[in-house]
């Protein structure tokens, strides 16, 4: 019995374990889940042998737990940093308690400079803190900006009945247009265009003063992330837009998923503090054009001044956690010196097949 690095040959057992623990029926879908895990944790450009995914290998039972891992190159005040992003942590409840805790302890002691996760349950949060990690308090607060009050109300009632598809258009849309008028976002200045990952990387390089600790995506990494969102549990259309000022200067960008009468999820909003107002206005206006009932995201220090002027309210969300052995680095991250978004976390990193009718649908999309 030991904790060791995840290998390709472990993936079928890991997929079956995940399905069993989560209560998913993967008949006919196991291969799709295996492919997804392989892309996330072994073959994709954000899989990193220096910060590997781990399995708990019980000699007799086989794989009884695993933790998926990705890494991100970051730029820091004193040079490059390696961020580890803890993905799904799965342990077989029939194999006894504590396997998840051992996996997490081993993972946090890896070669990375700091570790994050943002989809944590209360139990993981308590374990994380006991292992020396910290809560990223600001990012553990969710925000929402209402766009269509009738759609939100009906959607909430439907979710309580276990119906997750957006309500049908018709009377609801009419009510939203009439009652929701005051909530419609202001028309922003400037223009938007599809986000070119290379442009985003260049913009990030110029944001050192605003974000001393920021992603330094390498070749193809941001593009892979944007493409990968299509295969995740993220619902609706994934849009990534660069925002330019009226004179053409690139201000920043946003990445969101949005569906008519559904919840638009802000996955990444990047701009210098002085430009956040315009970028967020474009985000809200774009979500409204798509017909989203509300926009949700997590609170990030650079967004807060703009959000507080734009009728946002806070909502419950999962724990966002961070760990670093270097106290100064940890202090800087928790103090708002790092650009950390959902795109560089676990939030979107959910197995795709539960959102699809079967594995054939996934093949057809890819």
């Amino acid at each position: 019995m030991s904790i060791r690095t995840l290998q390709h040959e472990d993936l079928p057992a890991a997929a079956r374990l995940c399905a069993r623990v989560e209560g998913w029926d993967i008949a006919g879908r196991e291969a799709a889940l295996v492919d997804y895990f392989a892309d996330i944790a072994l073959d994709g450009p954000l899989a990193d042998p220096a910060v590997p995914s781990l399995v708990y290998d019980d000699g007799n039972r086989g794989i009884t737990g695993f933790i998926l891992s990705q890494s991100r190159p970051f730029s820091g005040p004193d040079g490059p940093l390696k961020m580890a992003c803890s993905g799904p942590l799965v342990a077989d409840p029939d194999a006894g308690r504590g396997i998840g805790a051992l996996l997490l302890k081993r993972y946090l002691a890896g070669a990375q400079d700091f570790t994050v996760t943002d989809n944590a349950t209360d139990e993981v949060m308590v374990m994380w803190k006991a292992l020396g990690g910290s809560v990223n308090t600001t990012a553990s607060v969710g925000w929402t900006r209402l766009l269509g009050p009738a759609s939100v109300a009906i959607g909430f009632a439907r979710r309580r009945r276990g119906v997750y598809e957006p309500p049908a258009l018709g009377l609801i849309g009419t009510v939203d247009r009439v009652v929701g008028g005051p909530l419609r976002p202001q028309r922003p200045t400037g223009t938007i265009e599809p986000l070119d990952p290379g442009t985003a990387v260049e913009l990030l390089m110029g944001m050192r003063r605003h974000f001393p600790i920021r992603p330094a995506y390498g070749d193809g990494q941001l593009r892979w992330l944007l493409d990968r969102l299509d295969g995740s549990l993220v619902r609706g259309e994934v849009v990534a837009r660069l925002v330019r000022a009226p004179g053409g200067r690139a201000l920043g960008w946003y990445v969101m998923s949005a569906a008519p009468r559904g919840v638009a999820q802000a996955l990444q909003v990047v701009a210098a503090p002085a430009d956040c107002d315009v970028v967020i206005d474009h985000l809200f206006a774009h979500a409204a054009e798509i017909g989203a009932a509300e926009v949700r995201g997590r609170l990030e220090p650079h967004l807060f001044p703009s959000l507080r002027e734009r009728r946002h309210t806070t909502v419950r969300t999962d724990w966002s956690l961070v760990a670093a052995r270097d106290g100064a680095l940890l202090g800087s991250i928790l103090g708002g010196g790092a650009l950390l978004t959902r795109l560089d976390g676990e939030w979107w990193m959910q197995p795709p097949y539960v959102a699809l009718p079967d594995s054939r649908a996934r093949s057809a999309r890819s």
Partner: protein
Amino acid sequence: MSSSDPAARVRALLREALQIEVDRDDQDLLEEGLLDSLGLVSLITELEREFGFELALDTLDIDDFRSVERIVARVASESEAAPL
């Protein structure tokens, strides 16, 4: 904890840090639900503090924390590198 008997030190640690009273040294703490995931993390932290070692991460085995006698055996093996 002043006892030089490792088993006594582990029992005292379980009692004082985790409020776990064990009846026998072979009592299965995991099977009987006395030790959950958080308790295990706390136990490891306390063992490292009490016995002055850092657990070898490449040989983490859940069974090593299943009972007082297994914990004592694990402590002994760790202490070969760093004597108690």
